[in-house]
């Protein structure tokens, strides 16, 4: 850490981890409700559990991205943050808004929440991931504007590296792509066509740019590889992302009422969407091989290298399996999609957030790296979480395949609940893997409470005596 204003990243990272914890708790409840439909009903209906689970995901990722931006932008620009105070105020506003919204979900029936918050004036509620009441949505825009103002002003007065341009540009993209959240036409087909501008635009477009920038930053810092090489790779990767991903949005348009040509265009372009993820894997390992230093933060390196791999599995491989129109005809709207969503969100965005936290938190706490025992805890948490998430993915995939065969095909297709009953074994596996993930998360969080820093001298002595 080179600039004292980078410290504002710390509350963002801590809040991100706390919200992450909350997300997993709601995930466990939702998983249990799949098995016991009366669990916590009617106090916590499934839809409320689910929206809490998904909204916490988005908020903690945004927290982590914002923290990362406040950490990276000054360091890249080689100047103090324009206004650390504004960043801190923004943090509290954002956290309070998130907490209020969550309380609204939990304690007020959704339709009443809509009536209370003026949804009738400008209807925006009732869409996946965008369940937030109107005031929260406006709050998100204001928070984003504050972040953009702060980092852009920092950029203007400082050094303009390509990495910083990509990061700040993609943050602008993130904010702009949120604006269609205020467009919710009566025509359901147009509404879902436009809903994908946000969801696809974020996770299969703009966020991949953020992912690239964060990973690029970590790799520059940890491997000491020449910035020119890293930035050139970054441009190639994000070029491939947008060149495949923009028309690739068509793979969401096959069966929602949009014209038939999307079946061809979406299939072709989305089939190419794994390419940038593959490039990301190649990039990360190429940088590792060309490294000019051995960074003591092994845990951060592990996160950074695993991110592209798991992202490739989740977004690339699992996405590819269901992206072609003839396949999606049977898997659309099944747990196969949920399987892909889980591994892709975790592998790409959760893991890159945890990577930057793993890299930056020790520095924010005044040490280059945590003590080896803390790192061992962190890496144990890493393996448990990654393994558990892969099991969750496989279980959901199994459930999705069962639906595709029993409910979607054959001469005598079964009804929805009949098929769900036959998938119980997969939902049990998912729930146990979820508990595994939760324990991994506890181990991971525990690593933050192991004190001490990386001691070069004793490590060197140990290495020599071994």
């Amino acid at each position: 850490m080179k600039y004292s204003s980078q410290k504002v990243a710390m509350p963002y990272f801590i809040a991100a981890l706390a919200l992450f914890f909350g997300q997993i708790v709601f995930g466990l409840i939702a998983g249990l409700q799949y098995l016991d439909g009366t669990f916590l009903f009617p106090d916590l209906p499934f839809n409320v559990t689910r929206m809490s689970h998904t909204n916490l995901l988005i908020v903690w990722l945004l927290m982590a991205f914002m923290g990362a931006a406040y950490y990276i932008v000054p360091e890249e620009a080689q100047t103090e943050l324009y206004s650390p105070k504004l960043a801190l105020v923004t943090f509290w506003v954002f956290l309070a808004a998130a907490a209020l919204t969550l309380a609204g979900y939990l304690f007020v029936p959704y339709s009443q929440l809509a009536a209370m918050t003026g949804d009738a004036i400008l209807p925006t509620m009732g869409r996946g991931y965008l369940e937030q009441p109107l005031p929260t949505k406006i709050g998100i825009v204001l928070v984003a504007l504050s972040l953009l103002f702060n980092v852009t002003m920092t950029l203007i007065k400082g050094r303009k590296t390509s990495l910083n341009l990509i990061l700040i540009g993609s943050l602008w993209g993130l904010a702009l792509l949120f604006l269609p959240a205020f467009y919710f036409p009566d025509d359901t087909v147009k509404a879902s066509y436009g809903w994908w501008w946000i969801v696809h635009g974020w996770v299969e477009g703009d966020w991949e740019l953020i992912l690239g920038a964060l990973l690029g930053f970590i790799l520059i810092k940890m491997t000491g590889v020449d910035r020119e090489i890293v930035e050139k790779w970054l441009y190639i990767i994000i070029a491939m992302t947008l060149m495949t991903g923009i028309i690739g949005i068509g793979h969401h348009y096959y069966y929602i009422g949009a014209p038939a040509y999307w079946i061809w265009l979406g299939s072709i372009f989305s089939a190419l969407e794994p390419i940038p993820f593959l490039l990301l894997v190649a990039f990360a390992f190429k940088m590792l091989l060309q490294r000019r230093r051995e960074h003591p933060n092994k845990a951060a390196m592990l996160w950074a290298l695993a991110t592209p791999i798991v992202a490739f599995l989740g977004a690339g491989l699992w996405g590819f399996m269901i992206t072609l129109a003839p396949v999606q005809y049977y898997t659309h709207g099944t747990n196969f999609t949920a399987a892909h969503g889980h591994l892709a969100f975790f592998g790409a965005y959760a893991m890159v957030s945890l990577s930057i936290i793993s890299y930056a938190m020790p520095l924010l706490r005044g040490r280059e790296a945590n003590s080896p025992s803390a790192q061992r805890w962190e890496m144990t948490g890493f393996w448990i979480m990654v393994f558990s998430m892969i099991v969750i993915t496989l279980a959901l995939t199994g459930a999705g395949i069962v639906t595709a065969f029993l409910q979607r095909s054959g001469d005598n297709p079964l009804g929805f609940m009949q098929v769900q009953d036959k998938e119980r074994v997969f939902f049990w596996i998912r729930e146990f893997a979820g508990l595994g993930f939760f324990s991994g998360l506890l181990v991971y969080l525990g690593s933050f409470f192991i004190s001490g820093e990386y001691d070069y001298a004793s490590e060197a002595k140990q290495a020599l005596s071994a």
């Binding site: 014209p259 038939a260 040509y261 061809w264 265009l265 072709i268 372009f269």
Partner: protein
């Protein structure tokens, strides 16, 4: 002399070749998709194809091939250091590119006034998206060539420095190559 020349790298900046191969891959997939979906709809494809005015396709083929030839001459000229000639050839190529666009727009206008859209049938879906996708490549190619021509007039290239010309030229030839296949596939084969 022969052995020395065969060891030459690809003309122009290597980055453009990555781009060219990626584009060829996408067009290759699109062409294959067209051919494969015709398998089960041959009658529909042939009947719809018969409504196209093949002459537009021919004129555009001749235009683009000639334009590509001009660009080849421009590359040749700059390798000999004749930058004024290079600029003239590039200008001619750009004019032909504009002619291509004009003819194509005329054809699109015809199509639309016949009430044809992407949703009319599978053939027109492919016909319109393939030709429009290619149309956009011509536009992009002209932007690149225009930039190269401007740099040529500004004196940025000579007998020793002409990577830029080769880079733009390579892209333009790719646009030409794709059209040659597209012309046969969409307008001729049935």
């Amino acid at each position: 002399m022969k052995t020395a020349s065969s060891a030459q790298p690809l003309p122009g900046d290597f980055a453009i070749w990555v781009f060219i191969f990626a584009e060829l891959l996408v067009f290759g997939v699109l062409f294959s998709a067209y051919a494969l979906s015709r398998m089960s709809n041959a009658g529909l494809f042939d009947a719809s194809q018969a409504t196209l005015n093949r002459s537009y396709g021919l004129v555009n083929t001749l235009t683009l091939v000639t334009s590509s030839y001009f660009v080849a001459r421009a590359t040749r000229a700059i390798r000999h250091g004749r930058s004024a000639a290079c600029g003239r050839w590039l200008g001619g190529a750009l004019a032909l590119g504009a002619l291509f666009l004009a003819v194509k727009l005329l054809e699109f206008h015809d199509d639309f006034s016949r009430g044809i859209t992407l949703s009319t049938n599978l053939f027109y879906m492919f016909y319109l998206s393939l030709t429009f996708f290619h149309f956009m490549h011509v536009v992009l190619g002209m932007v690149i060539l225009g930039f190269v021509a401007y740099r040529t007039y500004a004196g940025a290239y000579d007998a020793n420095r002409y990577t830029g010309v080769e880079t733009g030229a390579s892209y333009w030839h790719m646009v030409d190559l794709v059209w040659i296949i597209l012309f046969a596939l969409i307008y001729v084969l049935h």
